[in-house]
Symmetry: C2
Subunit: 218 residues, 2 copies
Amino acid sequence: MERFSSISMAVVRRLPKYHRYLSELKKNDVKRVSSQELSRITGFTASQIRQDLNCFGGFGQQGYGYNVDDLHQQISKILGLDKVYKTVIVGAGNLGQAIVNYTFFEKSGFVPQAIFDVNPRLIGLKINDIKVHDVENLESFVKDNGIDIGIICTPKSQCQKVAEALAKGGVQGIWNFAPSDVSVPDDIIVENVHLSESLFTISYLLKEREEVLKTKKY
Amino acid sequence: MERFSSISMAVVRRLPKYHRYLSELKKNDVKRVSSQELSRITGFTASQIRQDLNCFGGFGQQGYGYNVDDLHQQISKILGLDKVYKTVIVGAGNLGQAIVNYTFFEKSGFVPQAIFDVNPRLIGLKINDIKVHDVENLESFVKDNGIDIGIICTPKSQCQKVAEALAKGGVQGIWNFAPSDVSVPDDIIVENVHLSESLFTISYLLKEREEVLKTKKY
DNA sequence: TAGATTGTTAATCGATTAACAATC
DNA sequence: TAGATTGTTAATCGATTAACAATC
């Protein structure tokens, strides 16, 4: 989707990392942290951390640093983790089931309302207490239940059709695990998780690594 | 891992996309393609595409463009997709099973040799014809069988321990799906797939989207 | 040959880092 | 107050885009 915000995606994609590291600090009962200490933990420069945080406000205090609890809460709010979203999972294969069973998902405010599949054997079953519906009814279910986010865990061949049904049903966002791009209206957020691309990146880096090691040997 | 190559990660992460789009073109029996046409398909600028490809060689021909089959093969080779890697999957939960059952994975040259889990009920079973072993034996199995890549599909609490066993066993790379960083020697490639970060990014973008829509309304 | 399109250099843009005044 | 550390501006770096000569 087209973005209007001045916050760059580079910054946005670092926010979840800050959130995660702050959760760790909180768990370890750390009360305050400086950008320098955060730099050591995260691997980002202290300068970048201060720059990033100041996109959203002055959360620190000169001479002191940042209050861990406070900063954690601020970033939670920036990320919208205080909100609750209704989701549907399309595709009840291993990956779809993994997501339904992933408790972290629901804990973060993404509440599965239904699973959809084409397989008549699965339709009617419950997975982690969520009912499997016929994918034929996807669009109407999304519409009738005010679903916010659709999660595509189907094979590549089905993903565009599913994306269109989700879009027509009125979702705000799509989390796409199918190894293909989907085309939907511009005002719908699409986040792709292309595992094959991640895998190919490893493949490239392994090959490069071998070449480097070979060169070093001689 | 520290990298020595002059190719930037920005370029590396676009290679799998080029590969995927070229696969599509091949499937549609397209024989030649210009950087302009590729730009239309991929959304990258034609200039960037030519720039990227020329990091690896002059694959095109002035006045003609690129031969689809040839370019596809060249990129396959650059990505190391002609190689075969032995892999193990650690964690036989839904996600681990999803990967074992993901045929694309094996087709790309990543051949699962074993699955590991702590659960005694699973140990000894076969999933997609791959045997589940006791995670106690992970390090020795990796060593004895010359495993190249370890795939971590365990909960967060186990991932560092597993990463260390993989490293000691001698893997070249780790594909980490646990929502936490792992610390291993510098010469091991680590590729993280942090689904929670992807999820939080959606959460942020949805919130931003709502704010934009609200502003536009008035 | 003329037209098309690459390969490559130069210009621009954006993101990261450095520096330091403000201030707790 | 003195020391520490932020918030913010300016400088640097790297990545993207534009331009065009080379050439098929």
